[in-house]
Symmetry: C2
Subunit: 220 residues, 2 copies
DNA sequence: TGATGATGTGGGCAGTGTCCACATGCATGA
DNA sequence: TCATGCATGTGGACACTGCCCACATCATCA
């Protein structure tokens, strides 16, 4: 526990994690390499031994988010096997609840701060993996005659867009309003339940368009 | 044309417009008050006579975008009267083509850099107006029995999410790839046509879920 | 053991946002 | 007509930032 070590030990991961803390607290614009180094208790130049520049640290932080996203995706794919509708909805819920819990991280990942084609293969791979999961879910749903036919890639992109849209609306606060008015003093689990109910409603239109059978909601 | 004027005349709008130029060229992170002032040919403190801080200039730039968006919305609402499906699609196309033409401005407007509740009423109004247009389009479509029943606000939010999602995918480059591979040497009009075709495909799933009658695409 | 390379250090530079006191000149009222 | 006030523009200053440099430390291994 000797804290006066000249060498920190695992500075790189410390930088990423405290970076994400600052991100959550102060947003992308509020992140400063020097402040991160200061709070870790390390010289203002130490980060440059691990990242070429600030942008690379941001990319590492985003990559961390993508990895968590993907890990959950693959777990969901197994958990909801043979239930493509459930897979799609739970995937959406996962992305959206991440957008609700860590809006700034979400905006870092999808807000254009990061150009996957410019940075290390890891980030691009992590981002592409999420897309690929969606494609295979769609294909599975088509096999089971649950989803409509058509190019799976196109359907996956469409689905991804819908999910992204909901997530952006949540992370940017446009949906939080109504969501919070009911939930301002609820627990995390409570908020999660309300979020799920809201997403269920908002996702229904899209989902009913994706499903093979005729509409189920004829409550008019 | 006397350029040695001590007073610039309409510095405020100059700041906004050259700000948007820089935004288009270098992204949100690349914007510097001092550089803007320098290129306008004005002292580095002049901007502070018109904006309390950098954030307020960004908000003014975003507001400009929202105003253009809304102007087009109301024009579309008249142009496609009695064709709710056309209204919805053209609204979507308009947002998305803005995201394609000025991705950085779009990200400024919707990427969480701006908190409408924190800033001048104008911005919030402009943003809310777009939403209100959508609600009335939906209501109209419900009256004409073109769209499914249900809470118009919920349907509008869902629609907005889908549009936002597609726009974000375009502005962040995730859809540009396929789009550009075909269009890298096309004119603006040509690219616009390709973009429209792509959006038509990707929007179809959602739209078929929104429409009252059973699915039209049974090409399986 | 002694060299080497990965990792951490402080100094320095240009650039930034924002505060301050001061300069300028247009409008307005005596 | 002219003085005056106020909106607007100016330069100086400060703390902060990202990033470059040369140098310090230390684990590893021949």
């Amino acid at each position: 526990m000797e804290q006066a070590n000249y060498h920190h030990g695992n500075l790189r991961s410390s930088l990423v994690s405290t970076g994400i803390e600052f991100l959550n607290q102060k947003g992308v614009a509020g992140i400063s390499l020097r402040e991160i180094a200061r709070t870790i208790g390390v010289g203002h130049n130490a980060p440059y031994r691990h990242f070429r520049n600030k942008q690379q640290l941001l990319e590492a932080m985003a990559e961390d988010g993508f990895r968590r996203l993907k890990a959950r995706y693959t777990r969901l794919e197994l958990e909801f096997a043979n239930d493509p509708e459930g897979q799609i909805f739970e995937s959406a819920m996962h992305v959206i609840s991440m957008a609700a819990d860590q809006p700034n991280l979400f905006q870092l990942m999808f807000g254009g701060h990061i150009q996957p084609q410019d940075c290390g293969g890891n980030l691009k791979l992590a981002a592409d993996d999420a897309m690929q999961s969606l494609v295979s879910i769609i294909q599975n749903g088509q096999r089971l005659k649950v989803f409509i036919g058509g190019d799976p890639m196109t359907l996956a992109l469409s689905t991804m867009s819908m999910i992204q849209g909901l997530a952006i609306m949540v992370s940017s606060g446009k949906l939080k309003v109504q969501f919070q008015t009911q939930a301002k003093d609820a627990s995390w689990a409570g908020r999660q339940t309300l979020l799920r109910a809201m997403v269920l409603q908002l996702f229904e239109v899209f989902l009913s368009g994706l499903k093979e059978n005729t509409k189920t909601h004829l409550k008019e």
